[in-house]
Subunit: 326 residues, 2 copies
């Protein structure tokens, strides 16, 4: 779905190079793993993380001779993202992602374990080729760990009715926002944008990631399967209670818990009833307010960045991203 | 099973430090993953790879002030080994390893995926802390990839009756020998033992790894479940045809294939018949000859190393390792 970027030609052009690099690096002489990787790579990801990285690098006057390094780092971000998605789909038993059958569903969990591991190895390799000896190595290792701990935190909180907004925010910061944070931070760091802009970029990335994930979780209750390209309320049935549910349940515990206490035994009809209550009791509306707080802070921070075309694109993009219908 | 090292006090002392570091680094606030890691860490691994690394470092006059670095690298080798074992056990559906129930069997495949991933993150972190900016980073990334490709090669060759000795050796070089090679090479490299000794160390490590794996595969046909601490002929039933079978089958294809063609549908009785034929047609005897070639080359190379206590220990250890009954 790189057409998403057609209105931003400088980004689109670089993302085409990133995709080409990914295709080259994700080749393996094992047919089922290769097929799984190819399908996943072409399943319509928008490459948001590489794009943000490149845009934040474009804020600065960067050395055109080092373009290869930028494409490498952009690709490394997508590889890490892909690796975690493939392993997460194993744990979630997810049948669909991006409207396409998941690796674990198509090729089995075994192939999915190795496909994810292969992506981790290629991620390491690309990082080492490009960033060996820099402080970005440790940043990448830390982010990789935080992604995993965020997912594990979410898994540990499954079916936990006592989950708070804070737990939720903590988990999505790890599983989603940290990688956005790294992408923006790395863009500024690699192009020598200075420590002040680095810090702002990290915060902007983290906020975009949190708002993005909140919208994602809202869509799980407000969209339909066709638009969303995956089953709706999938999280709920698996005991993953996201922000809309947590907020809607706050003053209606008994009404919710008569269904939620059934845990895995909740029926499809009951899931629909709970989803309806989430809407009815303002879970979606309140979640949008949370997302808006992060969004507003992001816009303020972006406004402080010196004027440039890249800044304009970041502004437009943030608005587009956080006004999601897809 | 660090008692294995009681007769080598300098190694034992350092391995105790490695174990302590592993215990510190493998802590995670998710009870089931923590339990899985603890059980696995204390399930009696002999820490051969860290030990070989330390012994090869001890060949040289190394800087005592940098002992922390040596313990870190030794621990990183064990982490990578543990990560791959945990993910391999998912693919193999293995119930037991080292006489202990496997992570995937005890905690489920989901936890096993994340436990392995956590080990990869900790491996990466420790490497970056210790070796960032050195050429050993790329060596580690390459080895990690080769381990995975070796496992994937073995998986792709399952139930393949046309598998040759060369295929087998290629797969075990990747899945087992490369990490031994890295361990020995890293030991010399980090202690500045010079390029000639580095090269010899790599070859010694690789040969030890190959011979070690051949003996492991022999034991699958010649030992009993109690001594081996895991089910015997487990590989055969899963379509993993190792050297003893490949060699025994060479002049008796029809006799073997009447059973092997049944693939997964082979019965336990038939597995026993095949195992008996492997013995009867010299599969074990011939495999020992193969292992001996690698062993002899190893001993010759070790003999060329200048005299020292570490050299003596490497000599005794190689003999002990390649005369396995366990």
């Amino acid at each position: 779905m790189l057409e998403f970027w057609n209105t931003y030609p400088p980004v689109k052009k670089q993302l085409d190079q990133v995709l080409e690099l990914l295709e080259n690096r994700l080749t393996i002489d094992i047919p089922d793993v290769q097929e799984a990787l190819d399908n996943f790579l072409h399943s319509g990801g928008k490459m948001l993380r590489p794009a943000l990285f490149l845009l934040f690098a474009d804020l600065n006057d960067r050395d055109a001779n080092k373009q290869t390094n930028y494409i490498n780092v952009a690709a490394s971000l997508e590889m890490l993202h892909m690796a975690t998605l493939i392993h997460d789909d194993i744990i979630d038993d997810s049948p669909l992602r991006r409207g396409t059958i998941t690796v674990q569903s198509k090729c089995g969990k075994d192939t999915a374990v190795y496909a994810g591991d292969f992506l981790f190895t290629q991620f390491f390799e690309l990082l080492i080729e490009t960033l060996n000896g820099t402080s970005l190595m440790a940043e990448n290792a830390l982010t990789m760990k935080q992604l995993l701990l965020g997912e594990l935190g979410q898994k540990a909180d499954r079916f936990n009715l006592n989950q708070t907004v804070e737990n939720y925010l903590h988990n999505i910061t790890g599983k989603t926002a940290r990688l956005f944070e790294l992408a923006c931070y790395e863009g500024v760091h690699l192009s020598n944008g200075g420590s002040e802009l680095e810090k702002a970029a990290g915060t902007i990335g983290r906020n975009i990631g949190i708002a993005f994930q909140i919208y994602d979780d809202i869509l799980d209750y407000s969209s339909d399967a066709k638009t969303l390209k995956k089953p709706i309320t999938e999280d709920l049935a698996q005991g993953i209670y996201t922000l809309p549910l947590i907020l809607a349940r706050q003053n209606h515990e008994d009404e919710f818990d008569q269904y939620l206490q059934k845990k895995q035994l909740i029926t499809e009809d009951e899931v629909r009833i709970v989803a309806k209550m989430v809407n009815q009791y303002g879970g979606i509306q309140q979640s949008k307010q949370y997302a808006k707080q992060y969004y507003d802070e992001t816009i303020t921070l972006i406004n402080h960045i010196p004027a440039s075309n890249a800044k304009k694109t970041i502004q437009t993009l943030s608005k587009k991203l956080l006004d999601r219908q897809y």
